[in-house]
Structures are given as C-alpha cells and as structure tokens.
Subunit: 294 residues, 2 copies
Amino acid sequence: MAGALFDRVAIVGIGLIGSSLARVIRRDLPQTRIVACARRAETLAAVRRLGLADETTDDPAAAAEGADLVVLATPLSAYGPLARRIAPALKPGAIVTDVGSVKEAAIADIAPALPTNAHFVPGHPVAGTEHSGPEAGFAEMFADRWCILTPSPETDPAAVAKVRALWELARMRVVTMPAEHHDKVLAVTSHLPHLIAYTIVGTATELGEDLQSEVVAYSAGGFRDFTRIAASDPVMWRDIFLANSDAVLELLQRFSEDLTALQRAIRRGDGDTLHEWFTRTRAIRRSIIEAKQA
Amino acid sequence: MAGALFDRVAIVGIGLIGSSLARVIRRDLPQTRIVACARRAETLAAVRRLGLADETTDDPAAAAEGADLVVLATPLSAYGPLARRIAPALKPGAIVTDVGSVKEAAIADIAPALPTNAHFVPGHPVAGTEHSGPEAGFAEMFADRWCILTPSPETDPAAVAKVRALWELARMRVVTMPAEHHDKVLAVTSHLPHLIAYTIVGTATELGEDLQSEVVAYSAGGFRDFTRIAASDPVMWRDIFLANSDAVLELLQRFSEDLTALQRAIRRGDGDTLHEWFTRTRAIRRSIIEAKQA
C-alpha cells in the first residue's frame, strides 16, 4: 500500500480525543484500519455503533499487535501500565504516540517501557471540549488548533514526520518543543485556569442551598464560563495536576500574590490600581484575537 | 397616546447595555422618542450613525427634561453626580431606573438625590458581552436572561410594573429581590469570577516575553475563556469591586481557603481529594444546562 500513512492504527482509550482522531482517520485515510481499545464494554459498544473502528478490544496488547501506529489517549495515570502491556506486542518499527497534557511525565512513564525498535513521538493536540466519551468527539475539533510534539533529539525524524502528517490531516498547526518547556507553557494556558475554575465552582457549591439555586439562575454574569471549564473530565484533570505539580504550584504562588494585591486594592478602595490592572488584561485578549485563537 | 409604555425615554450613558436597550425600544416601541446622552462626542456621533436615538446631548439635565423614563447606564461611579444633575429637570411622576451591577451602592447614590415626586426603580439586566460601546450592542443580548429589580417596599407598584414591562419586551425574565440579597448573589455569579479572571490573565502577562507569545498561541486550553472575561470594561469593573467590596472580600476569603486546600492536595499527591472535588463541580454545570443558562 504505497503512499498510505498508516495501514493499521490502534487507538487505546477512545474518549473525546481518541474518537475525534478516529473520525479524522475515517474521513481522510479511508484505507486505514482502526482498532479501538477501551476498558469498558459500553465504550466499545458506542464505538461500534458510531462506526469509528474496524475492530474493538479491551486488550491493549491485542490492539497494538501489527499496528503501524499506537495512539495512547487515556488519562495520564494509565500510560505506564499500558506501555508495559503493549510493549511485547509491538512490531519492529511501530510508532507510539500519546495525547497527554503533561509531556515530561508521559515520557517518563512510556519511554522506558518500549522496545528499542519502536519509535516514541510524544504529542499533545491542544484541543477539546468539556464533554467526554466517544459520542462527544468530532473531526473538526482539532481544526486551526495547535498540536505540540516533544520528541527527544534521538527520535527517528521519519517517525516524527508521520505523526506530524496525521495531525496536519486533522488541520492542526504542528510544532515541536522540549517537553519541559511544553509543561511550563501549558501550566499557564490550561492547567492553572482549570484549577481556578474548579476552585471557584467548588466554592459556590458550598454556599447555602437557597443561594445555590440562585447562583445557577444568574450564572450568565461570568460564572457559567467557569462551570464549563470545571465540567471537564475529573480523572483526566486529577492526573494532570499530579503529573505537572511543580509547574502548577509555582504558578499558583504567583497567582496568589497577584490576587492578594487586588484584594488589598479593593479593601483600601484603591481604584487606580484596579483600573490599571484591568486595562492591561484587556490587551492580551486583543493579542489572542489577532492570533486567531479566540 | 393611550397604551404607549413611555412617550419619551432618556438613556444616560449609551454603551453596550444602553445601546442594546435603545435597539429594543426602536424595535418594539417605534412611537417612543429616545434621547441619548453621553459625555464623549464620538459616542454621540456613533449613536446618530446607528440611528439609535431621536435626540443626542451631552447634558444629562437636558436629556431628562420631559422624559417619562430615565435610564442610567453609565459606570456606577457616575450615578451620584448624574442623579444630582438630572433631579431638577425631572417632570413629576417621572421614573428613574438604572442598570448597575451593585444595587445597594446604586440606591445609596441615586435615591437621596431624586425629588419625592419621581419614582426610582433600581434594576440590573444580567446580560452583556466583553465588548463596549454603542456599536457593540444588540437587541437580542437580553433574551432569556434575568433582569433583577430591587425596588424598596414603598416604591409605586405602577412604576415597577412599567420598568418590568420594558425588560419583558427585551425578553428578559424579570424578578424582584432585596438589594442586599442581589449583591450577595452577584458577588458569586459575576464579581468573583471577573476578579479571578482579571487576576489570572494579569499573572500571565507578567511572565517573560518569550513565554507570553506562547501563552497567546496555546490559549485554547482554557486560558482564552478567562481572557474574554478579563477584556470587560475596566472602569465599569473597577466601580463594581469598589461598590460591592464587602461581599466580594468575604467570598474571596472562602475562595482562597478552597484554593489552598487544592494546592495542598496537589503538593501531597492526594488524587482522591482532587477527584472528589472535580466530580462535584461537574454536577453544577448540569444544573446550569438544565436551567437553560448555558
């Protein structure tokens, strides 16, 4: 099959990201055979109902067998055990990639388990919604978003090029950077915002019951944007915070200092400090609109 | 003109909210004469260009003269001076309302200045976008959102009914509650979320310049939702935090305690606490979807 990117792709963990990728492959690589692997029978039944795979299995080793590409798309905490399960089944030259939001931890869990004749290309498609499961996926989810690959300098360039080509089919803008740098950037753009959203929504749920129903009713004033973020998958996010704890805790320290400064300005009635701060934050929104990420 | 809700409406401060209301009146009360008042000549020129008013003026007293309804739609800090400016011009029986996000402060600033033969109906349409100015408004902005009126028990019920009828034309769901209660609810649903969003976006702007451009590029991971909120009008929000400082500071205290608990869980690697918290916050999102406020 000259010209085919991959003859056989195994997607291990087929939730929001995995199923969206399966839809891309179905759309753009109709010759490619997709094997979907999940622990739960309901998930596999949904995958079959949606026509997202040619084969379904709950055995990661069976899924990996004969695959040209294995995509790990489970929560981060499953990576280590899964890598050890698939390793003996990988064919020589197989490519393994992942979609995890913390790259140093993903590499530490996956790389040591793989055979030397397999190629590991760590990846992170920065896209998603607050919904979970194979029903929630859609091929267009990746369009115009960034995909960050963090291969080591020793990784086979041909393997990196193939993973890049796959995400480009999904219409992502693909970049490479060191894993450590990725984890610092994502701590700012994604991990801290999620932690703050989870916190504030939790704070609101602890108010008296009377107030709580009103909080829901009047959520359009800003709160509902936080609830959307705080509705993201709990297991996935637990794993992210544990895996990227150093970068998140360092940022949290800066955030707390800044919050204390604004709190102090409010207490002292210092309108100039507030106004100066709020004007500065407006500028960054404009940068995001100009970068077409709004 | 039997049956007309208002013959003449003065909108003082014609930005996002004021201009959206003008559009509603144009659409549903074509007989009503609209007088728009703003300080800046560019704003008034935009209002004329958009056809949102029959008369424009930079003099609040001239705008209020002969009006059946005066809508104060400026930032909160202008309410006191404006109420004193319009008071001598109000005709007997005129209704004054406002759209401010903090009701106790609005009442304290406006009510004492008005003549006893005018009716004051404090109001807060809980709707908006991060954009500002008369170009940013649109009549549909209010549809299906809540409008909270906080009249005192002594307010003329006929005046309250007319203000209610206006917001119902805008397709808002109108409720009344005590001003103090409004301010507590909104501190949770709107003021704290905005403060947190302003803080986190500010924290990000203080990172090194290299990192900052990457934060913009990879903002789709959660950060951009905060930047949208943190792009709201700086003057309006400065005034809100100063006017509702007690409720905001009390909530901020609870939020900081909760954040410290999650921070501690991350530092100790306590995944169970994180998972339990993140599962709880997901439920409140479902309530908001059921309440059709998503």
